[in-house]
């Protein structure tokens, strides 16, 4: 996350200060740099598109109104924003399960259907598409059932394909912690998805 600051790409701490003073163009640059990653993170952490949208909105609002609390020496704007978003995720999850889980509205979130995805790969039979959709939904639910700390690591490293270093920056923890959470999260996922069924198991316990 983040690019080398230049005259055309001013550092994000500068953009944040300008955005907090009401400079719309500066805000748009910060927003567009982080909105998608933040949204997918919130979506994977809460399982609800509605909650994810609210979290993105609340996080950026909080960023704008707390810009003076941002300390560039402690990390990048993206990490500060993620810290805010994680708090909102925790609050939402503490209220209970998502109000609008994916499977209840009879359709997957926009742009995520197996059919839409398969289009780029060539034709697939309806049975294949149905099977793929079911498989993806199964993994999505298994991820949602992970303990929050493990889910964060899986969401960032496995689903966003971030490096351990990038995830550690965003989650403000050592790389070793990310690695450990990721390993345990994957072990739990394998068990949850019963990928180990009918196979001898060398368990990695919870």
């Amino acid at each position: 996350m983040g690019t080398m600051p230049t005259a055309q790409n001013p550092p994000e701490d500068d953009l944040l200060r300008r955005a907090a003073r009401g400079e719309e163009a500066a805000f748009v640059r910060i927003y567009r740099a982080h909105q998608a990653t933040l949204y997918r993170f919130a979506l994977r952490m809460t399982g609800s598109a509605w909650n994810a949208e609210e979290i993105v909105q609340e996080s950026f609002m909080a960023l704008l109104h707390n810009a003076e609390r941002y300390d560039a020496s402690r990390g990048e704007v993206g990490a500060f924003l993620f810290g805010i978003a994680r708090n909102f995720v925790r609050k939402r999850n503490a209220r209970g399960p998502a109000e609008l889980p994916f499977e209840d509205d009879g359709e997957l979130p926009h742009g995520t259907s197996a059919a839409a995805n398969a289009g780029a790969r060539g034709p697939a039979s309806p049975a294949d598409l149905a099977e793929q959709t079911q498989r993806v939904e199964q993994v999505r639910r298994a991820v949602l059932e992970l303990p929050e700390e493990f889910r964060e690591a899986v969401a960032l490293c496995d689903l966003e394909e971030m490096s351990y270093e990038e995830a550690a920056k965003l989650l403000d923890c050592p790389i070793g912690t990310i690695r450990s959470r990721l390993h345990r999260g994957r072990a739990l996922l394998a068990a949850q998805l019963e990928i180990l069924r009918d196979r001898p198991r060398k368990a990695v316990s919870r």
Binding site: G22, E23, F27, A36, K202
Partner: protein
């Protein structure tokens, strides 16, 4: 490898597998050979390696399905409106810049007078008139709002400035001035950035307190 290139323990192999590594991605030929040899003789580790590969494949499938997800456009629109509101509130332009604006307006009137005289147009540089009969809705921040504001002004309507009072009262006055579009932006009106340097003639409705309340673009 614990310094022993010929053997790989279950723990070492499982650590590599958990990191998504496969024998083909071994760091060296010796590690590759040790890896394959271990898998050939250890059913548990072979199963574990398969498990991790399958798990990674399924996670990649979920990642691919959701990689294009992003918040709906309305979130950005709401936040941009919030940012736009931050400027006037924090800077209090009508308080801080009020005096500067009055000076600017007076100077602009003089410039307008000269320009108009040179172009032989019979437009009074300063005219004190009754408040305009109608107002357009307050401007939004979008491009559509800019078009809407321009359409409103083209129809002869004044567009209220942020914080402007719809009925400015009998003591208000209209100042006809020539200014750059960027000055309209500084008053809180939506302006196309590409044309921000363009000069335009406008009527400013100035309230009894000397503050501009509304603007009308002249074609």
């Amino acid at each position: 490898m614990n310094g022993n290139e010929e053997a790989m323990s279950c723990e070492e192999l499982q650590k590599l597998a958990l990191n998504g590594k496969q024998p083909g991605g071994a760091a060296s030929d010796a590690e590759h050979a040790a890896w394959e040899a271990h898998l050939a003789q250890c059913a548990d580790c072979a199963a574990y390696q398969d498990t991790q590969m399958e798990l990674r494949a399924r996670l990649r499938e979920l990642a691919a399905e959701t990689s294009a997800e992003q918040p709906p456009w309305r979130v950005e629109a709401i936040l941009r409106r919030e940012v736009a509101a931050l400027g006037p509130r924090k800077d209090s332009p009508w308080n801080r810049r009020g005096l500067a604006f009055a000076v600017f307006a007076a100077a602009a009137v003089l410039v307008a007078a000269v320009v108009l005289r040179q172009s032989s147009q019979h437009i009074a540089p300063v005219a004190v008139v009754q408040p305009p009969p109608s107002f357009a809705t307050p401007p939004d921040i979008s491009d559509a709002a800019e078009a809407e504001a321009e359409n409103a002004t083209a129809a002869g309507d004044f567009v209220l400035l942020p914080g402007g009072i719809p009925d400015a009262g009998d003591d208000s006055a209209i100042l006809r001035v020539r200014l750059q579009r960027s000055e309209l932006a500084s008053m809180g009106l939506p302006v196309n950035e590409a044309a921000s340097a363009e000069w335009v003639m406008v009527d400013l409705l100035v309230g009894p307190d000397g503050q501009p309340q509304a603007v009308r673009l002249l074609r």
